[in-house]
C-alpha cells in the first residue's frame, strides 16, 4: 500500500508526535490488501453461516491468530488497520501479550474451567479481583460495584436498582407490603408500579426489552417490538466546531433542558402524566445515534434536574468508558459537583456491570441477581487491561494520538469540504460526517477495500473507535487511507 502522504507534506504533519506508550510488540507495519474486499473465502464462509443464522451482518471472517495490535487479518490474508475494534469493545488491540499471559497463567485455570454463580459461591479472591480492577477505576462516591453480563444487562439492572430505590424512598424506607408483593405476581399495581426511565432522542442503551424502550437511535432496532410507555426527551444537536457556534449551541442546550424540566414536572410534580420517572439514562456522547456531543455545562444542569426531581441519574458509559476519550470515564470531562448516581459499563471492560452510590443497594437479598452475575474470565482480562492502561500510559497515548487525528481530520475537511464535515470528538473518540447515508455506506466499503476496518453510526457518520494502543503512526495511516478514498470518490 503506497499512498502518497498528501496531507502530511504540509509542515503541521511532517513529524508524528511522541507518546510515552511502547509500540505494540510484533505489530504489522501497515494495512495490506491481498484480495478484493470481501475476499472469496469470506464470501464462501458467509454463505455457509447463512445456513444456520442470518449472515447479513458479516463484514468478513477473521483470522484471530494472525491479527496483531491495531491490525485485523481476514481469512483471505487481507490485513486491515482497525478503527472499529469489535464495535468499540476491543480494549488494547489483538493478541495483547498482557491478556495472553493472564489467560495462560496456570493460577487462573480453575476460573477459566468453570463459571461460578458469583453471588452465591464466589471464588476466594473475588473481592480482591473486584477491588484491584473495577475498584481501581471507580467513579467518585460510587462505592457499590455490581458485575454483570453485557451492556444491556447492565443498564436493565441499573434501571431495576433505580425503581427499587425510588419505591423504597416513597415508602419511607419500609419494605414492600403484602399487597405490593401479591399484586406484583400478576404484573399489577401497586406491586408493579407505573414507573418509567427518561431517555433521549438518538440515545442507545441496548436491545433487551426494557433497554429498548430507552433506545431511540434506529427504527429497525425497535419496530414490531412492544415498548414500555416511557418518556423521551430531546438531546442537543450541536453545530461543529463547537467554539465557532458557542451562542447557538448554548441556546440549543437551554431548549433541551427546558423540555426535560417540563417532562419531569409533568411526571413527578404535577403528575399529569401516568408514570412517575424513577431515573434518567444518558450517554456522555450519543454513539450509536451518530456521535452527538453536549457541553459539560449541559450535563451539570442535567444532573441538577435529576436531583431536583428526585430522579436517579444514570450515566451509560458502555461505549464511552474504558479510556478512549482520554479519561477512563467520559463523564470525568464534566467536572460534576454531585457525581452520577450510577455508571454502567461493558464493552472494553469485557465484564458488564455498574457502579452506584451506596443508597442504591437494595436492603433485601436476591433483588439484583441472576445465575452468574458476571464472569471471572472477563475480570481476569479486565485486570490485565487496567494494569496496562496505567503501566503503558494508555490514556496519555490516547490524548496525544486523538489530538493529532483530530487535527488531521480538520485538514481533511478543509481539503474535501463537499465530502467531510462536522469533525468532532475527544481523545480518539471521534466522528466525521459524510453528505448522505448512501455516500457514507458506500465509503465504508471503499475504506475497507483500502484496508481500513471501520463502522458508521447515526445516518451518515463514520465513527473512530480504535483501541488504546492506537498511536500517531496509525492515525497517519488512517488519514492517508481516508485521503485516498475521498480523492477517488471525487473523481467518480
Amino acid at each position: 500500500m503506497a499512498y502518497v502522504r498528501r496531507l502530511f507534506k504540509s509542515r503541521a504533519f511532517s513529524t508524528l508526535p511522541a507518546t510515552p506508550t511502547p509500540a505494540f510488540p510484533g505489530e504489522y507495519p501497515n494495512a495490506w490488501m491481498k484480495t478484493a474486499y470481501p475476499g472469496p473465502r469470506s464470501l464462501e464462509l458467509t454463505k455457509q453461516l447463512g445456513k444456520v443464522q442470518h449472515a447479513g451482518m458479516v463484514h468478513f471472517f477473521v483470522d484471530y491468530k494472525a491479527s496483531q495490535g491495531n491490525y485485523i487479518v481476514d481469512v483471505d490474508g487481507n490485513r486491515y488497520l482497525d478503527i472499529f475494534c469489535q464495535i468499540a469493545s476491543l480494549p488494547m488491540g489483538y493478541n495483547h501479550p498482557a491478556i495472553q499471559a493472564a489467560i495462560q497463567n496456570p493460577d487462573n485455570l480453575a476460573l477459566l474451567t468453570q463459571r461460578p454463580a458469583l453471588s452465591n459461591l464466589p471464588p476466594e479472591g473475588w473481592t480482591d479481583m473486584i477491588q484491584s480492577s473495577l475498584g481501581a477505576v471507580q467513579p467518585k462516591e460510587c462505592s457499590e460495584i455490581v458485575t454483570l453480563m453485557c451492556g444491556s444487562c447492565s443498564n436493565e439492572n441499573a434501571f431495576k436498582s433505580a425503581f427499587i430505590w425510588y419505591q423504597t424512598k416513597a415508602r419511607g424506607g419500609k419494605p414492600p407490603t403484602a399487597e405490593d408483593l401479591e399484586s406484583s405476581m400478576h404484573n399489577s399495581a401497586p406491586g408493579s408500579p407505573a414507573l418509567s426511565i427518561l431517555s433521549f432522542q438518538g440515545g442507545f442503551h441496548g436491545r433487551l426489552l426494557g433497554c429498548l424502550s430507552a433506545t431511540h437511535s434506529k427504527a429497525i432496532h425497535k419496530v414490531d417490538i412492544p415498548a414500555m410507555d416511557w418518556p423521551v426527551a430531546p438531546f442537543p444537536r450541536l453545530k461543529y466546531p463547537l467554539d465557532a457556534f458557542a451562542a447557538e449551541n448554548a441556546e440549543e442546550e437551554a431548549r433541551c433542558l427546558a423540555q426535560i424540566d417540563a417532562i419531569l414536572t409533568a411526571h413527578n410534580k404535577t403528575k399529569s402524566e401516568t408514570s412517575e420517572v424513577a431515573g434518567m439514562i444518558v450517554e456522555p456522547i450519543q454513539a450509536e445515534g451518530g456521535d452527538h456531543h453536549a457541553s459539560p455545562a449541559f450535563f451539570q444542569a442535567l444532573r441538577q434536574l435529576a436531583t431536583d426531581h428526585g430522579v436517579a441519574f444514570i450515566v451509560d458509559e458502555v461505549q464511552t468508558g474504558g479510556g478512549s476519550t482520554g479519561e477512563f470515564w467520559a463523564h470525568e470531562h464534566w467536572n460534576l459537583s454531585n457525581p452520577p448516581d450510577m455508571v454502567t459499563f461493558s464493552k472494553k471492560l469485557q465484564t458488564g456491570g455498574f457502579f452506584a452510590k451506596p443508597e442504591f443497594r437494595p436492603v433485601e437479598a436476591y433483588r439484583i441477581f441472576n445465575t452468574w452475575m458476571g464472569d471471572p474470565v472477563k475480570m481476569i482480562q479486565l485486570q490485565a487491561f487496567v494494569d496496562t492502561v496505567k503501566g503503558d500510559h494508555l490514556l496519555e497515548n490516547t490524548r496525544i494520538t486523538g489530538d493529532f487525528l483530530l487535527k488531521g481530520l480538520h485538514a481533511l475537511a478543509t481539503s474535501y469540504p463537499d465530502l467531510v464535515s462536522n469533525v468532532r470528538g475527544v481523545g480518539t473518540y471521534i466522528a466525521i460526517d459524510f453528505p448522505s447515508p448512501a455516500i457514507r455506506d458506500n465509503l465504508l466499503v471503499k475504506l475497507r477495500q483500502h484496508g481500513l476496518q471501520c463502522g458508521g453510526c447515526g445516518d451518515r457518520a463514520l465513527r473512530f473507535r480504535p483501541a488504546l494502543v492506537f498511536q500517531p503512526r496509525h492515525a497517519a495511516e488512517t488519514l492517508d487511507i481516508l485521503d485516498q478514498v475521498c480523492r477517488d470518490h471525487r473523481k467518480e
Copy 2:
C-alpha cells in the same frame, strides 16, 4: 463422616447399579467437614465483600482449584458433595479434564484473548463451531441457531423473534411501513404494537425487564419493578406420585388447558383484551417456582393450542436443557408431532442462545443483534461438554443414577412421612418437599453443615441439580446425608 447407611441396609439398596460412565479422575471419596458451616474464613470474606456489594446471597467462598468432580471445596477446607452445581449451570463437575484441555489448547488462545463481535466479524471456524456443538444437539426442525449471553438474554431475543414473526405475518410478509418505523421511535403504536407473551403462574424466565413480566415464581424478584401488561395462565399443580392420582391430575391439566384457551381466545380471536398474544413461553418443568411437572399429554395439547391461536410456542430449556432429565432436552420426553417453534438455552451449555424454526429468521439484518452475540470461550467449553456427553455415556449415567436416587427418595419419604413428601422428577432432575418454608430453609443449612451443597426452589422444595457426572455412589452419599439430617430433625 461416618453415616450409618440405614437406608441401604435393605436389600434394594445393598448394591449400587453399574453405569457405563468412567469415574471422575482424581475425585474425592466423600464429603468432609473440617469446620462449622459457614466456616470462619468464608464469614470473614463475606464481610469484606459486603463493603462493595450486597453479600447476603453468599453460601460460602470457594476454592475452585481444590474442587473436583462432584465435590466443591470451600476456603475453610470443607468439602461438600454438590447437588446444586452453581444453580444447575455446572455441566460435568469441577475441573473436568476435557474442559481444562480445551482451555489450555494453544489453538484456542486467540479466541480466549479477544472477544469478537460475532455477527460482524466471526472467526474462521465459527460455522463449524456452531454445527459441531449446538448442531449436534439441535431439536427437530429447529435449524436456526442463534448464540447469546445468558438465559434472560436468550428468552428476550426469542420474544423479539416471536414479535417480529407475528407482525410480519400480520402484514402478509411485507416489511414495516414508514409509519411503523417512525412511530416505533417514540414507543408508540403501530410501530410499537400492543403484543404480549403468555406465561404461566409459577414460571421463571429470567429477571431482565421483558422476561420479568413473564416470570411469576417469587414476588421479591418482581416487586417495585414496572411490568408489561402480559397475560398469565395457570400451570397444572399435580399430585405425586403421578400414577396414584392419574384421574385428578388429568382433570387439573384439563382445567388449565381450558383457561389457556379462554385467554388466547380473548386476546387473539374475540380481541376483548387490549394485547394480541404473539408467543407463549413454558418450562418443561417449572424449576425456580418449585419443580412443578405436567404430563406429555398436557404439553401436546398446549402445543396444539399455540398452533390454533397462531402463537409461537417457545420452550424455555435454560434449566432443563443439557441432559439432566436423561434426554439432552426435556421436551424430548413429550413426543410432540409438531416440535417447538423455539427452544432457549443457557446454564449447563455455558453459552446462551436459542434454536428456532426457519420462519423465525427476520428478513432484515440487525433486528436480532448485539455487540457480542455470544462468546467463543463458552463455545469451546460447550464442545468439550457435548463430546463428553456422548463419549462417556452421560445421559445413560444420568438415567441410571436418577432412577436409583428416586427409589432412595421414595424410601426416605416412607421413613419420614411427616417430613419428606412429593418425591418427583426424571433423570436426576428431582425434587422433594418439606412441610414448610421455615423447615426447608433450616434443613438447607443443616444439609450444608453435613457436607451437602444444595439449594431450594418454590416455597418448600429441595431441588436436585447435580452434574452429569453424578453417579450412584454420589446418590447413595446424598441419601445418607438426607437420612442423617431428617433423623436429627425428628429428635429436635
